[in-house]
Symmetry: C2
Subunit: 320 residues, 2 copies
């Protein structure tokens, strides 16, 4: 962490540098079991353990009203936050939502948004316990998830050389959908829907905790980038097997139609909120989880594919 | 609550109508001890009781960077949310913060903001356990407070005819400060500072719970308006005694200088985050709390001053 630079813009520092600079200033009391830097924080409150996370979505940065319905936006805002609790091996108990909106927004939009949020929360049995509405020039959604980890907390930092790297859920679909939408198309519907309405594998987080996962993260910014967080936090290297990374049919069609290697969607695409984690080598992974690579005793934070560093971007760069 | 209107803008519906319309759509599970509609929600998580609240602040709607320093904005964002837990009779244990900001923002602004937030959180011993940063055209701050109510939860709905109405903390100072700033002045410093950096009475919430308060709220939108929420939720009327409402010296100076009745600041001003509550008649109030009126068996939601309905606005109208 260290001392933040006194001059320069937050764009120059970058999202992760900024988060570190801010976190260094925050007080940490005895109730904090896990502070900033993982998918969620863990608190001891009134004798119970509580897992909490927040995300902010801004119109035009994270969603477009001409692409996404109000219900889609509500569902995605919920999914992103439910996923943060999933990525700790837990289940969200409740969501709080703050909505900034222009005064001329239709009431119908707001109620459709709330219905989408409620529907997604219902998938894990989470309640929506209120929030705040305020005036803003564009739509801004901030969702806080409050959850619990019945089978223990799984952090990013426990991966050990020799562990299996495994994935649960779809990966690359939302990126393929975004590529399609960005070029003005609305099909294949399956990938467009994946972008508009992610389907995080909500059962896989608690299952990973039960299976004894040594680390866990959800893929919001890109598989390589998010696995890089595990590798850095754990002080290990990770190698993925290209042959284990499934490229589903619609990703292949989109790749062919757009002249893009569909493996790019899988390696660098975000917004599917699949889970990746590491497990002791002897773990019987079960149905949700499929092996995609291995943890190595190599340079901390490095992620390779078949032993080579992939070319190009690693994933979404905030503020860039 | 009932069915929300299918057409029309959220401005026509108003903040409270919108909140009700959204809350009616939200699922409520067995972990919810108190859902939307009070200063915070109350959850049962992992055997403990947790009190949670969120607020969103938007640049130009809630603060101006030419009036407030980064540190002021951080402190105020924290104060507003710490106050929500105070208004349940509790103490905040932790804050989560989501920050939207333009990429060209100076790192120094962000770290000063975080320092102000951290300093205010430190006043009640709350930790700051992380959050989210994202790109936005203006600065947007969403803070979530997580707390506990050691002496029991005090809601808005328990006021009974015959109870004392009492206040803790300053009221009207921030509104006087806003009036001064809005006219281009920067003094009297005491009221300007009160607007920029509120001083909620953080000890008074838990004290009210200990004293057996029957209802409690913090004044964020105006004394009459926020007492109206208690009166409506409790099904009672409230009458304030003008002679009990202190008009401190700087409010008198500002009123005289601007040609405004300073009682207006006290009755309709927001942003001081003082507490008002109701207590059984026999309660020995102690030092923090001073009586300002009485709960009456009258029309639900009505707030009068010396038996009369005050003229003019009741407080801040969001979306108007």
């Amino acid at each position: 962490m260290g001392q933040p630079p006194a001059t320069g813009s937050i764009a120059e520092l970058g999202e992760f540098g900024l988060v570190d600079a801010l976190a260094a200033l925050f007080p940490t009391g005895p109730e904090v079991q896990l502070g900033p830097g993982d998918d969620a924080a863990v608190l001891a409150v009134d004798g119970g353990q509580v897992v909490v996370s927040v995300d902010m979505l801004v119109e035009r940065e994270h969603f477009r009203r001409d692409w996404s319905s109000a219900s889609d936006i509500g569902a995605k805002a919920a999914a992103e936050n439910l996923s943060d609790i999933n990525a700790m091996g837990g289940r969200a108990v409740a969501l709080l939502v703050a909505l900034g909106a222009p005064p001329e927004l239709e009431v119908r939009w707001a109620t459709d948004f709330a219905a989408g949020l409620a529907e997604e929360a219902g998938r894990v049995g989470a309640s929506v316990v209120g929030g705040d509405v305020t005036r803003a020039d564009v739509i801004i959604v901030s969702v806080t998830a409050i959850g619990r980890c019945e089978h223990g907390v799984v952090m990013r930092s426990g991966a050990r050389p020799g562990d299996i790297v495994a994935m649960a859920g779809r990966q690359g679909w939302a990126a393929a959908g975004f590529a399609v939408l960005a070029r003005g198309f609305r099909s294949p519907r399956a990938v467009v829907d994946a972008h508009l309405r992610p389907q995080p594998p909500y059962l896989a987080g608690p299952e990973a905790a039960r299976l004894g996962a040594t680390s866990l993260i959800d893929v919001s910014d890109g598989l390589l980038q998010d696995l890089g967080h595990i590798a850095a936090a754990s002080g290990v290297a990770i190698d993925l097997s290209r042959g284990r990374l499934e490229i589903a049919e619609p990703l292949q069609s989109v790749g062919a139609a757009l002249g893009v290697d569909p493996m790019e969607f899988v390696l660098t695409g975000g917004d599917d909120y699949c889970l990746v984690g590491t497990f002791p080598a002897e773990t019987a992974l079960g149905e949700s989880w499929r092996p995609i690579g291995a943890v190595l005793d190599g340079p901390a934070g490095v992620v390779t594919v078949d032993g080579e560093t992939p070319e190009g971007a690693r994933g979404h760069q905030h503020f860039r």
